[in-house]
């Protein structure tokens, strides 16, 4: 086994809480009666509506089309009638248009099969086209449109394809279970991605707290004859961020403002690789994903394969409902996920988890003055000074904050997590970025 590696600066060790669901096999969620499918489930321009009120759609139809360079198609997972198109709030905190579809029971998607031999013959361009048509966006959390990421720009070349099986967020086991249960499909998906990017080698990074996943992937690779390396990584948040993962695996730093391809790497999530497999071999667009439903306030924490548009409420009911009144419901992991207030919020492509947290877990506290303990600076994986940035933003000095590399902050939450004064540092960074955007517009 290779030596465990990790990134150099910053990072924290939140309690990982993986126990709750790591042994739970992926279960299925029944189809809801009404689904709400947001038109913006990816980073970049929202897709533009391709259906209107009263239209009848079939499962797998495109209901919103990618608009702009960085965008992705949106498909409906189930057939039925479009009841209305209205603005809803998505977990990220802003409102986007969404189609509300009354589901026609028994309208589920019919997979077709392409044999492995046929898939072998597809050219990289054809593969990219499939990825684009199937509306695949990164399933790690940021939901970056995959066809954009896999198309290596002219003049650049990918040396290493890094597959992100880190899943450093506490509680979440969606990727972990996927690797355990679908290692074979996953590896095939990786092979397509390798073909699209032209990467010379593939490294699969998995944190040391997932020995089963590591074993499963290594076993499947040996069985199917793939030469992909599995790189064990020390447990450290936020290793699942692509910049930290690149640093951990290759030792290289992506230049400020640059992309992984600038250091010859492409990073993608195991979930995305699985989605690519399904798109290529089963012609299935991305409209469902594995969601970890967990947290101390959930009766039976579990991993659920859920369709996009399913309300959170249904998944929580599937997991036995609340065992006690949660004080916070989170979409995604606890470090970078968003608190939601409405249990009708729909599952989206990037929803890796639904967590119901109790007061004890949240550890919220009264905000006290900064005592410049420097914990935020130590924990920042980007080498920034969160406290300084926060003070600049607090005083309205947004331009100065930008000069102090505010835009390099990716809101991983290490600073806020470790702040004993309970200062809302990440929110400060987001505020600063918002005000900078306002200034420039």
């Amino acid at each position: 086994m290779l030596k465990q590696r990790t990134f150099r600066r910053g990072g924290i060790h939140p309690p990982d809480k993986k126990r709750l669901t790591e042994g739970q096999p992926i279960s299925l969620c029944p189809d809801p009666e009404v689904i709400t499918v947001p038109f913006s489930q990816h980073l970049g321009t929202p897709a533009s509506a391709a259906v209107s009120k009263g239209d009848v759609v079939n499962a797998g139809d495109i209901i919103a089309e990618a608009s702009g360079f960085i965008s992705a198609h949106i498909h409906t997972p189930l057939g039925g009638e479009v009841k209305e198109i209205r603005n809803i709030f998505i977990p990220a905190g802003f409102s986007v248009p969404a189609a509300v579809i009354a589901v026609d029971p028994g309208s589920s998607f019919q997979e077709s099969v392409l044999t492995e031999g046929e898939a072998e013959k597809l050219s990289p361009e054809e593969l990219l086209d499939i990825v684009k048509k199937c509306g695949i966006a990164g399933l790690g959390g940021a939901a970056f449109p995959a066809h954009v990421k896999f198309k290596v720009p002219k003049g650049k070349h990918a040396d290493v394809l890094i597959i992100n099986g880190v899943e450093c967020e506490p509680y979440l086991n969606a990727d972990n279970r996927l690797m355990i249960e679908h290692a074979g499909e996953l590896l095939e998906g990786i092979s397509y991605i390798q073909r699209m990017t032209g990467a010379k080698s593939v490294i699969i990074g998995i944190e040391a707290n997932k020995p089963d996943a590591m074993k499963a992937v290594e076993g499947a690779a040996a069985a199917q004859g793939y030469t992909y390396a599995v790189q064990p990584l020390k447990v450290m948040y936020p290793q699942g961020d692509e910049k930290q993962l690149i640093e951990a695996v290759t030792g290289k730093e992506v230049p400020s403002g640059g992309l992984p391809i600038d250091v010859g790497t492409v990073v993608t999530n195991v979930g995305t690789a699985f989605a690519v497999f399904e798109a290529v071999r089963r012609k299935k667009p991305l409209f469902e994903r594995i969601v970890t439903v967990s947290g101390e306030a959930v009766s039976r924490p579990m991993n659920i394969r859920a369709k996009v548009g399913t309300p959170f409420r249904m998944l929580i009911e599937q997991a036995g409902g609340f065992s006690e009144e949660p004080c916070k419901v989170v979409a995604g992991g606890p470090m970078m996920g968003f608190a939601v207030y409405d249990l009708d919020t729909p599952v989206m492509k990037g929803t890796s988890g639904i967590l119901a947290l109790t007061r004890k877990q949240v550890q919220e506290g009264v905000e006290t003055p900064c005592i410049s303990c420097g914990r935020c600076v130590r924990s920042c994986p980007m080498g920034l000074q969160p406290t300084r940035l926060y003070h600049l933003i607090d005083r309205g000095l947004y331009q100065e904050a930008k000069d102090a590399w505010l835009l390099d902050c990716k809101e991983c939450g290490c600073c806020s997590y470790s702040c004993p004064a309970k200062i809302h540092l990440v929110q400060g960074m987001r505020l600063g970025k918002r005000m900078l955007r306002n200034l420039s517009s």
Binding site: P369, H391, D394, R395
Partner: protein, 196 residues
């Protein structure tokens, strides 16, 4: 060794601002942000080093021969005022960027007691022209150090909930007092023990 002694004396032991109260007005007035504090510090150092030499020359080669030592105050202030103006003009001509950085502080220096102070103190304390020059630079550097430290401290205070009556000048004075308190660690004994 003597020159090092003069340097240490004026920078640490009897810092113009922290122990002698010379140059307090700019110390309080121009220390709100670090850029201007650095500019002011260098401008003062520059003027001080030249002024102490020129005044010493005037004193020894004009006032003493004619036995007019009692005119030193008038003569010195005249020289300093003209010197400052001359320096301002020269900088403006030869280096506009430097003028932009230092220029606005130069008129303030005329009435900076630190400059006249070093000229007067030099007459009693130093003897050779090189000592005078060192004294001027050292006193200026002491001023520079104090004002830059002060400006850093005051920048740190921005955004802190300083009580309203203390905001600005009072907090600066108290900071100065605390700095002086700490600088009391540097005493004469330190200098003599260190340099023998």
């Amino acid at each position: 060794m003597n020159y090092i002694g003069i340097l240490i004396t004026y920078i640490f032991i009897s810092n113009f601002i922290l122990t002698q109260f010379l140059g307090l007005c700019p110390f309080i007035g121009v220390s709100k942000n670090t850029e201007s504090a650095v500019g002011m510090g260098f401008a003062v150092t520059f003027v001080m080093s030249i002024a102490s030499v020129v005044t010493w020359l005037i004193y020894n080669f004009v006032l003493v021969p004619f036995d007019l030592m009692y005119l030193q105050t008038i003569a010195f202030i005249l020289v300093i005022a003209s010197l400052v103006q001359l320096v301002e003009m020269i900088i403006q001509k030869i280096s506009p960027p430097l003028y932009k950085a230092l220029g606005i502080f130069l008129p303030l220096i005329t009435t900076n007691c630190a400059v006249l102070g070093i000229a007067l103190l030099n007459i009693t304390n130093q003897h050779t022209i090189l000592e005078i020059f060192t004294g001027g630079i050292a006193a200026g550097l002491g001023f520079l150090l104090a004002i830059v430290l002060m400006s850093n401290i005051r920048e740190r205070m921005d955004g802190k909930p300083v009580p309203k009556p203390f905001k600005g000048v009072p907090a600066a004075f108290i900071s100065g007092g605390l700095m002086a308190l700490a600088f009391m660690a540097f005493d004469r004994a330190l200098l003599t023990n260190l340099l023998g």
